[in-house]
């Protein structure tokens, strides 16, 4: 039988249902021959807005034991520890539980031999340093999207996961949603013919700006929050983590909307086009010559336009246009097709079936036990993040950037190539 590596992958984890089998602790083989129990001992890093849901989910999993909390804000750290202990106390026969430790430095979690896995839910600029350190210390990692701050970080992280045999899941949870998978399968299998144009809307953040200095709040380790990024005076607007701006609006800490919604939607587009181990060949910023929309182009000519002014097929988040039809897909399990019959058509026996996960975190936990590949590996996350970052570089340079996805090099543009990685502020280098 002829095989291809990713096309045949299909592994599910049903939300809310006990894992189909729990490998005995000895079989986990996590840090050494013996694991303390069937449970995965977990450290959580970054207790901000995005961690709320993850924290709650992990506390509700019978096969997970949250043991460590890390945040550079003492108050968030304290709340995280309290929430953990209260949740476990409710489940404890004695009504008490006090086994969670809070840390300002993630290194203290990485150093703990009893921690099996780490969730890295920090701002983007901390993803690579923490994830690399954790993997090299033998931890499995769930990393918030976008996986990286720079293109090079992604290559390092993907290589690291392979070299150290780690189970690394990127938090691109749209892959674990029926509608997005079905959309990708319809596109991948040619149900709408040859795909020539794709639209997606990402929205907009306010422009970055300088802020006047403010006093650093007590209990907030601002130097460590900045970490490897350039130093700027503290201002609450720079560090807050709301969806409408905060740190997400700055290039220093991410790729703005390209790294925010783009990391989700570009990821689905990559999946649908079968480009999980490759990527586009050119990135054109909005406003360049006659290009109204930010665009990236694949080697076969397929164009992806970032169309933030709306008008997508049935108001979807992503619209795939093919020679024989259209597919639109959005959050909330919304999927529309033209012709409409495509929406519910089953796949044929020769069709490519994509990895089938119903719950993103559960998929990671199951793979920690089985050592199978999760649905969104570091390589996938790296390739998607590369699109986010190169789109951002083209936007800043205000000129197209040509890219060789095989060599992973910018073609004939030294200034753009230099921006595929960033020097890091000491003492926060990559391990």
């Amino acid at each position: 039988m002829k095989m291809t590596r990713r096309n045949f992958i299909s592994l599910s984890a049903s939300a809310g249902v006990a894992l189909p089998w729990i490998v005995p602790g000895r079989a986990l083989g996590l840090n050494d021959e013996t694991a303390p129990s069937n449970r995965i001992n977990m450290g959580l890093v970054g207790m901000g807005l995005m961690m709320n849901g993850h924290h709650r989910t992990m506390l509700g999993k019978d096969d997970v034991q949250v043991l460590a909390i890390c945040d550079v804000d003492a108050n968030k750290r304290k709340v995280g520890v309290q929430r953990t202990e209260q949740a476990y106390a409710k489940k404890s026969p004695s009504g008490t539980w006090s086994g969670a430790e809070g840390y300002n430095e993630y290194e203290k979690i990485v150093e703990r031999d009893d921690i099996d896995a780490v969730m890295v839910i920090t701002p983007d600029h901390w993803h690579a340093p923490i994830s690399l350190a954790a993997m090299k210390a033998g931890k499995d990692v769930y990393c918030q999207k976008p996986m990286t701050l720079t293109v090079r970080e992604g290559r390092l992280m993907s290589d690291c996961a392979k070299r150290y045999g780690r189970v690394f899941q990127v938090g691109s949870q749209q892959r674990s949603n029926w509608a997005f998978r079905k959309a990708a399968e319809l596109v991948r299998n040619g149900y709408i013919g040859k795909v020539h144009t794709i639209y997606t809307r990402l929205g907009r953040f306010p422009a970055p700006q300088n802020f006047n200095p403010q006093p650093i709040p007590e209990g907030f380790d601002y130097d460590r929050w900045l970490g490897p990024t350039p130093w700027y005076p503290y201002n609450i607007e720079r560090v807050k983590g709301n969806y409408g701006g905060g740190w997400r609006r700055f290039w220093e800490y991410g790729s703005r909307k390209n790294g925010d919604w783009g990391a989700h939607h570009f990821d689905i587009i990559q999946w649908a086009l079968g480009m999980d181990d490759s990527g586009p060949v050119e990135f054109i910023p909005a406003g360049y010559k006659d290009n109204k929309y930010q665009t990236h182009i694949y080697g076969n000519g397929t164009k992806v336009h970032r169309k933030d002014d709306g008008g997508l097929f049935e108001n979807h988040m992503i619209e795939f246009q093919g020679t024989e039809g259209t597919v639109g897909v959005s959050r909330g399990n919304r999927l529309s097709t033209n012709p409409v019959e495509l929406r519910d058509i089953p796949l044929g026996s020769k069709d490519v079936r994509l990895y089938d996960s119903h719950e993103h975190q559960a998929n990671w936990l199951e793979c920690i036990k089985t050592r199978r590949d999760p649905i969104c590996t570091a390589e996938i996350g790296h390739r998607t993040s590369t699109i986010c970052h190169l789109s951002g570089i083209a936007e800043r340079l205000k000129r197209p950037v040509k890219w060789d996805p095989d060599k992973e090099l910018v073609i004939d543009d030294d200034a753009a190539e230099r921006q595929t990685d960033r020097p890091r502020r000491a003492p926060y280098g990559l391990v």
Partner: protein, 666 residues
């Protein structure tokens, strides 16, 4: 932006001296703005400066880049240039500077200004000229530990081989030894690795980890023999943490993959190493097959992991027997892992095994069956469906039939119709009928009609097929042509296929039939075209009360959206009120006035209100109609509606809203 582009294009065609003057003028114009006392005001000029640098650094404009950088270097050397400006200049030099900038940036490394020397360090880290490493090395001893670790990182990133002795000296410095180890790992020369080896004995904690990380990093850059020796050392040293041992094993295996090494890794007593070894076989079909065929003799956990590998990659033909054998294991975990691995495979053997497990109630097997790939698997499923011999298990047939819902098999509905035509087993029939209802389409309508003649339960599938039919007219003719062959409940069910199709010919046939079953079907019509025929039959005294109510409710549902003049709709409501056989149904009809957004509905509704028969329903309909007419600026009928409501002496919310309506109508 356009202005900058235009300037850049202009600069392309002017001589060098003038070009430099033009650039200098633009840069100098920005300097005071970049140093604005109001920090927030600096952002726009910073972006303007970035755009200038981007244009100057574009591909194919080396002369312009040189001129631009030269001006920046001049300004950086001047005491008159404010600090915030220098910082921004150096930030852009990080992207576009080359060898010409090293001296100036090197001098900035000695600055007492922390921010300025840090941006200079970053710019030198990115500078392609080898002299940049020398400048960085020269600054190593200055300032504090944080600074030194930054310089170490930069030298490591640059793979500054000449810096090895200086960096090696720092391996004994408790505060810098980890950063030094990391830099030596990146440099990855024979000397730097020797230095890492030299620090190995006695290293502890984070420094031990740093040495391990550095050695693994170096192993991917060293010549093969040295890399192999280094990883052998790491794998065998008793102090090495297991994660590093995994990395060392993986590098050496992947550099020279042999099945013997793989087997040794897979069977290693440390299950973490064993697990990594299993994963290292990914993409190597020959080794995967050998592992699969050898797994029965291995530890259970290893078996589960090998099965996981098969699941991730798809099972090669030569490993299918091993997979099927594992699926028959007495160990539940192995069995489950095998069945889940089958999801990504194909072939008749696997299909047959899964059918057996699915028939026994295994949910994973049922799921796997829907995902099996390839023609051979489908042929095996089809054969199982057709297997009607005495020794064939009906449960396997049911399991096979159930897969067709989730598999796009071109002739699946035909196969099921064929089975159903003379199926004896009730379970098989039930399963086939259920699946047929989900997958039948327009092309199946003629054979489904034939099947329905024998088995009226198939009419349900026929309705579903009708819903999916693209040629509704042809399907309608097929149904109409067959009606004479049905009677009683079967005929009634067949008639209800016609509204699903919604074709004019079907509607006419129902209207002409005029009997109760036809009217029930007509009442389900999808649009208002059926209203006249329904209205006509609402007056038909021959129909039962139940049939009458069905008809009236059909009209109530269809009339508001019907394509006819509003005045006609209003007249129809009046006719319907007259035809309705009881008060309950009349109450429902009265509410229809509120759904006709037209002034002609006002007068009859006022009339109903004044007669006082359906006070609550009529008042609510009047409020609704009044609101719509107000938006159309038809104030007179609104006033009459409001007055009519208030004359019924309403209380509470209704009174309040009626008064508001009256006020707004003035």
């Amino acid at each position: 932006m356009h202005k900058i582009l235009l300037t850049a294009l202009t600069l392309l065609i002017i001589p060098g001296t003038i070009l430099a003057q033009e650039l200098a003028a633009q840069i100098d114009a920005l300097i005071p703005k970049l140093a604005d006392e109001n920090i927030e005001a600096r952002y726009a000029p910073q972006m303007a400066f970035r755009d200038l640098a981007s244009v100057a650094g574009r591909p194919g404009a080396e002369a312009e880049r040189k001129a631009f950088v030269g001006i920046l270097l001049e300004r950086l050397a001047s005491d008159k240039t404010p600090q915030p400006v220098k910082v921004w200049f150096v930030r852009e030099l990080e992207h576009i500077a080359k060898g010409e900038s090293v001296d100036t940036l090197g001098k900035l490394l000695a600055s007492d200004d922390v921010e300025l020397r840090e941006v200079a360090r970053r710019a030198l880290e990115k500078n392609s000229d080898p002299a940049a490493s020398k400048a960085l090395l020269g600054a190593m001893e200055r300032h504090d530990v944080v600074w030194q670790s930054g310089v170490l990182n930069a030298l490591g990133e640059r793979r500054a081989d000449d810096a090895t002795p200086s960096i090696t000296a720092l391996l004994g410095d408790a505060e810098l030894q980890s950063a030094a180890a990391s830099a030596l790992g990146h440099i990855a020369s024979k000397e730097s690795v020797a230095a890492l080896h030299g620090a190995w004995d006695g290293a502890e904690g984070p420094f031990r980890q740093a040495l391990c990380n550095a050695m693994v990093e170096a192993s991917y850059r060293l010549p093969e023999v040295q890399a192999n020796d280094l990883c052998d050392f790491l794998f065998n040293a008793p102090e090495t943490p297991v994660a590093t041992r995994i990395a060392a094993w993986t590098r050496n295996y992947l550099a020279n993959p042999t099945y013997e090494d793989l087997l040794a890794g897979v069977q290693h007593q440390n299950l973490a190493i064993s697990g990594a070894a299993v994963r290292a076989a990914a993409g190597d079909e020959a080794s995967t097959v050998k592992l699969a065929n050898a797994m029965a003799r291995m530890d259970k956990t290893v078996q589960v992991r090998i099965l996981g590998l098969l699941g991730d990659q798809g099972t090669p033909e030569a490993a299918v027997d091993a997979l099927v054998n594992a699926s028959e294991s007495g160990d539940a975990d192995i069995r489950r892992a095998a069945i889940r691995a089958m999801e990504t495979s194909g072939g008749a053997n696997i299909a047959n095994a899964l059918l057996k497990y699915a028939a026994a109630g295994d949910r994973d097997a049922r799921r796997a069956l829907t995902k099996l790939q390839g023609d051979e698997a489908q042929a095996a499923i089809n054969a199982a469906i057709r297997a009607t011999g005495d020794t064939d298990d009906p449960k396997i047939r049911v399991a096979a039939i159930n897969t067709l819902t989730d598999r796009n098999v071109p002739d699946a509905s035909g196969l099921l119709i064929q089975i159903l035509s003379d199926e004896k087993n009730a379970d098989v029939s039930r399963a086939a009928m259920g699946v047929l209802g989900k997958i039948a389409s327009g092309k199946d309508i003629p054979p489904l009609i034939q099947l329905s003649e024998k088995n009226p339960r198939a009419i349900g599938s026929l309705r579903n097929a009708a819903n999916r039919a693209s040629d509704k007219a042809a399907a309608t003719q097929a149904v109409l042509g067959s009606l004479a062959k049905f009677d009683g409940k079967a005929r009634a069910a067949m008639l209800k296929v016609l509204p699903v199709l919604g074709d004019e010919a079907g509607m006419k046939a129902l209207a002409e039939a005029g009997d109760g079953d036809a009217m029930r079907a007509l009442a389900e019509w999808p649009d208002g075209r059926a209203v006249p025929a329904l209205l006509e039959n609402a007056r038909n005294a021959e129909l039962s009360d139940g049939e009458h109510v069905t008809i009236v409710r059909g009209i109530i549902r269809l009339l508001p959206g019907a394509k006819m003049k509003p005045e006609t709709k209003v007249a129809n409501i009046g006719d319907l009120l007259a035809a309705a056989r009881n008060q309950d149904i009349r109450k429902q009809v009265v509410t229809l006035y509120g759904d006709i957004a037209h002034p002609s509905a006002a007068a009859p509704l006022v009339d109903v209100i004044q007669k006082g028969a359906f006070k609550d329903e009529a008042n609510l309909a009047a409020l609704k109609l009044g609101e719509v007419l107000l938006k159309q600026k038809k104030k007179d009928p609104v006033a009459s509606l409001a007055t009519a409501i208030l004359e019924t002496k309403p209380t509470g919310e209704l009174e309040k809203k009626a008064k508001q309506l009256q006020k707004r109508a003035k």
